[in-house]
């Protein structure tokens, strides 16, 4: 049996006659140039070999490549925990303003505009998260986690309090575990309770005087709000630990709840998710970190504050130092500022309201089993007897980017789905139809998918077994 979806999709596939794929730049034309320099020969290389193509040829190459790629503007992109929202066009123009692009070593006096915008974004983010102070330095969410855990570490050290463990629920983002380990902590994984939320008994058993912090996202990756958050906060604080908020799912809370009000001491914001800056195929993002007053003295250096005649940079008293060479991904921060300033209170709250409505509506419309609930911005369906990865490949044929698959592992064959606020009912119905068509597809059809994309199913195993990571490596083969 084969399912049907109203959305069909045929992605561009560019090939040339001989090779049936769009050739690499190096295959189109490469030239080796002898290096003839004013420098002594022993300081320079002998030759340089690179593609040599005209601008029109390059324009076609990159246009063809773009046509073999799927973005938010190509169609629905409900990739769970990634918050793939539409990125307003005007923020690109705002970030392209010449004054946005100054050298990072310019004097404070000559960069008052940059510093003011940084300060204002710090203020915006502080209000949105319920935090007292915010740094913009971390260049991505995981970098923000790392900075946050370093802040927690510096706080405990300042009190001569030696703590070795960070607690993380099993449903958490992989970055939480890696960031805590990078900072030198032992990771203690908390099993989820039967309702998909933090199991208070397991938490009580894991908490001790070794607990430096509990890292939590709320709502969690199952889209569930941790209703016991006040109690969780008290339990963590009672043993002297800090509560860290992973902001990956903040899009579900804007204007409806603030991590600071829930007892979180430290948080990061994924501005490329919540504040609609483009993901750029995997970056650049930005991961500002907010903290409560007591932790402000540990923020990265430099930090921006108001001064008598404008704004100035300073090193917080017990700063953790640096997590980036300069001030992070600044142009991304400019876009986030513009997005927040455009939406204001009502827009931000409505974005979350519609994101939550969309997730609940879609969860209602799909034929797959959706355990747990009620949901906030995302839900995790189970593909059951089907292989979630195969379902995902089939959904590509139905014209939608599939959900995140096989994670979190507490739901078997997980399809983690986050439609965000940017889809209307008609698109959600089409998206549900794609799910349901795949639900009705037989195994052979699923395993043969996708068939309408630029490439058919790709052999991941041999890619890892025999890694070929450059065109030079292809030549050797």
């Amino acid at each position: 049996m084969t399912g049907e979806s109203p959305l069909g999709y045929n992605q561009a596939r560019w090939t040339d006659d001989e090779d049936t794929y769009e050739p690499l730049l190096s295959e189109k034309n490469t030239e080796s140039v002898a290096v003839d320099s004013a420098l002594p020969d022993d300081l320079t290389r002998d030759s340089l070999e690179l593609p040599n193509l005209s601008e029109p040829e390059l324009a076609r190459h990159y246009t063809r490549l773009s046509e073999m790629n799927y973005g938010v503007e190509s169609g629905p992109f409900p990739l769970g925990s990634c918050t793939m929202k539409y990125n307003p066009k005007f923020t690109e123009d705002v970030a392209a303003v010449a004054d946005a692009s100054v050298h990072p070593d310019r004097s404070e006096q000559s960069t008052q505009g940059t510093l003011e915008l940084q300060y204002e974004l710090q203020q915006y983010l502080g209000k949105i998260g319920g935090m007292d102070a915010v740094t913009l330095q971390p260049p991505a969410g995981a970098a923000g986690e790392f900075a946050g855990i370093l802040i927690a570490n510096a706080y405990h050290e300042s009190r001569d309090d030696d703590r070795s463990e960070v607690l993380i629920p099993d449903s958490a983002h992989g970055t939480n575990f890696a960031s805590a380990a990078m900072a030198g902590y032992d990771v203690v994984t908390l099993p989820s309770g039967e309702d998909g939320r933090v199991d208070l008994d397991a938490l009580a058993a894991a908490l001790s005087e070794d607990t430096a912090a509990l890292m939590l996202t709320n709502p969690n990756t199952l889209g569930l709000f941790e209703r016991d958050i006040t109690e969780i906060s008290e339990m963590v604080h009672d043993v002297g630990g800090l509560l860290y908020y992973d902001g990956a799912n903040l899009n579900a809370l804007l204007g409806h709840g603030r991590p600071g009000d829930m007892g979180f001491d430290i948080m990061h914001y994924n501005v490329h998710k919540t504040f609609a800056t483009p993901h750029g195929g995997g970056g650049p993002g930005a991961g500002p970190v907010g903290v409560v007053e007591e932790l402000a003295e540990f923020l990265p250096d430099p930090h921006v504050r108001e001064s008598d005649d404008g704004y100035e940079l300073y090193a917080p008293e017990n700063s953790i130092g640096k997590v980036h060479g300069y001030q992070g991904n600044w142009l991304v921060a400019v876009k986030a500022y513009a997005y927040i300033a455009r939406l204001g209170d009502e827009g931000l709250a409505d974005a979350s309201a519609k994101a939550v409505l969309n997730a609940n509506y879609l969860a209602e419309m799909v034929d797959y089993e959706v355990p747990f609930g009620p949901f906030h911005h995302e839900f995790v369906a189970s593909a059951g007897e089907q292989d979630a990865a195969d379902v995902a490949k089939r959904m590509l044929d139905y014209g939608v980017h599939p959900p995140t698959t096989k994670w979190p592992e507490i739901v078997g064959e997980a399809l983690m789905t986050e439609p965000t606020e940017i889809e209307n009912k008609r698109t959600l119905d089409q998206l549900a139809a794609a799910f349901n068509a795949a639900r009705a597809d037989d195994i052979e059809t699923l395993e043969a998918a996708p068939e309408r994309t630029a490439a058919r199913r790709i052999d991941q195993v041999s890619a890892a077994r025999d890694p070929r990571l450059s065109w030079q490596a292809l030549d050797e083969a």
Partner: protein, 442 residues
């Protein structure tokens, strides 16, 4: 028509009604499973604005920056970015896509990243390059943790130049925070590595030796092969910092024994961007399974056609969690795309010409400043790349302040030392700069 607070939520009132009814509630607020005591009333005090008003707000705020011609470098450089890069990288299929977890619909970005990796392989001479870190500082931090993983010595020392920039030094310190490692510095001799002192400092306890070419003071290193041998003799990792423009011209890192190359590739593809970067990470084949970050590999699809995919993901945080080689998830993929486009646009001749200009423009400007009374340039009797140190009889901070008043920004690097960086983007302002310098140095 929509009746929403968010201009980017497309719901009509009728649709919202229908959806609420389908999920069995009468208003959106009822869907929020938040206890009353931690609910928020939505009032941040941020006023909504029209798109036009928002643009004007940002433009007016940023316009408070002074209009200075920057002669600044020291690890962050401005080169002309061709229009093609802006226009093609802004195609929404690139700009608004996510990490390529479904490779069948992401062949375009994957191929572009594969091409980026290949360009770094050519420039470094090393066989493996990942498809981006955040910037040079975090790439150096990742190299240090790689050294911890691959070195079998009991050593715990990392050796870096005493002139290492504050941003790189500070980031490195944090990246090794989880390990029992100390950072020692070695001195520089007239701008370059003091190889004699370094030789005394490197021993079997040394995990990693770090050097840069060009150096932070703009000089070109003359004895990197010896540094590489020294590291190798002591079983330490030799990590070299550079950038793709310099690498086009200078000795291939692999030929001087570099095990890892880090640095910033935002020199191509990005404007100054207040320090936004693109971290390079390339290394020898034997460290492949210990590499941080994402790797794109060539494979085949079921029809036997070449296709690209993310590979070796079992190193990454989403699979390996606390045992991952790095915590990096979101990286700088789009900047890598832009850099690859920029390199392709230049081609081998264009990239070499650009690099050669970095030598000759700096040499010519140093000569002109050196003609000014009370000024010596360059301070170091070396070959230079893009930048050089200038000695002034007058206090450097006073000269820099006067220059800023005249519309030019330079670094102050000592009581009587300034640093000046020149590329094609400020090259046509040199006459005015030299005149202002003469005035300020008087």
């Amino acid at each position: 028509m929509t009746a929403n607070g968010s201009p980017y939520a497309p719901h009509t009132p009728a649709e919202t009604e229908a959806m609420l009814s389908a999920v069995g509630v009468d208003r959106e607020e009822a869907l929020f499973d938040i206890p009353d005591d931690v609910r928020f009333d939505g009032e941040f005090g941020i006023d909504a604005r029209s798109e036009r008003a928002t643009r004007e707000l940002v433009e007016d705020t940023l316009a408070k920056n002074d209009d200075l011609v920057e002669f600044l470098g020291r690890g962050h450089y401005d080169h002309y970015v061709p229009s093609m890069v802006d226009h093609l990288s802004a195609r929404s299929e690139f700009l608004t896509s996510y990490t390529q977890y479904q490779p069948e619909v992401a062949q375009g970005f994957l191929q572009a990243l594969f091409e980026y990796q290949s360009m770094l392989v050519e420039l470094t001479g090393l066989s493996v390059a990942n498809c981006s870190m955040y910037d040079a500082a975090t790439a150096l931090g990742e190299a240090a943790t790689l050294a911890v993983r691959v070195r079998e010595t009991s050593g715990d020392r990392i050796v870096v130049p005493e002139t290492l920039s504050a941003g790189r030094r500070g980031t490195l310190e944090n990246y090794i925070a989880g390990h029992d490692i100390t950072i020692d510095t070695y001195p520089m001799d007239d701008g370059n590595v003091d190889r004699e002192v370094l030789a005394e400092s490197v021993d079997e306890e040394t995990l990693l030796v770090y050097a840069e070419n060009p150096t932070v003071r703009g000089t070109i290193e003359e004895g990197l092969g010896a540094v590489g041998e020294l590291a190798d003799d002591n079983d330490a990792l030799f990590v070299l910092g550079s950038d793709p423009v310099a690498l086009a011209l200078l000795q291939e890192p692999a030929s001087v024994g570099a095990d890892v190359v880090v640095g910033d590739a935002a020199t191509l593809g990005l404007p100054s961007a207040y320090g936004m970067g693109l971290g390079i990470f390339a290394c020898r084949e034997e460290f492949l399974r210990q590499v941080p970050g994402r790797l794109v590999g060539a494979s085949e699809d079921t029809t036997g056609h070449r296709a690209y995919t993310l590979t070796l993901q079992t190193r990454e945080q989403h699979i390996r969690r606390e045992r991952a080689t790095s915590n990096i998830c979101t990286n700088q993929a789009w900047v890598a795309l832009r850099t690859a486009m920029h390199v392709a646009w230049l081609g081998p001749d264009g990239l070499l010409d650009l690099a050669e200009d970095c030598v000759t423009l700096a040499r010519d400007l140093a000569d002109r400043l050196n003609d000014i009374r009370g000024v010596k340039a360059p301070v170091h009797d070396r070959h230079h790349f893009r930048e050089f140190v200038v000695r002034t009889d007058q206090p450097a901070s006073a000269v820099a302040a006067d220059l800023e008043s005249a519309g030019y920004a330079v670094h102050v690097v000592g009581e009587h030392e300034l640093q000046v960086c020149v590329t094609e983007t400020n090259g046509r302002k040199i006459d005015g700069f030299v005149a202002a310098f003469e005035e300020a140095a008087r």
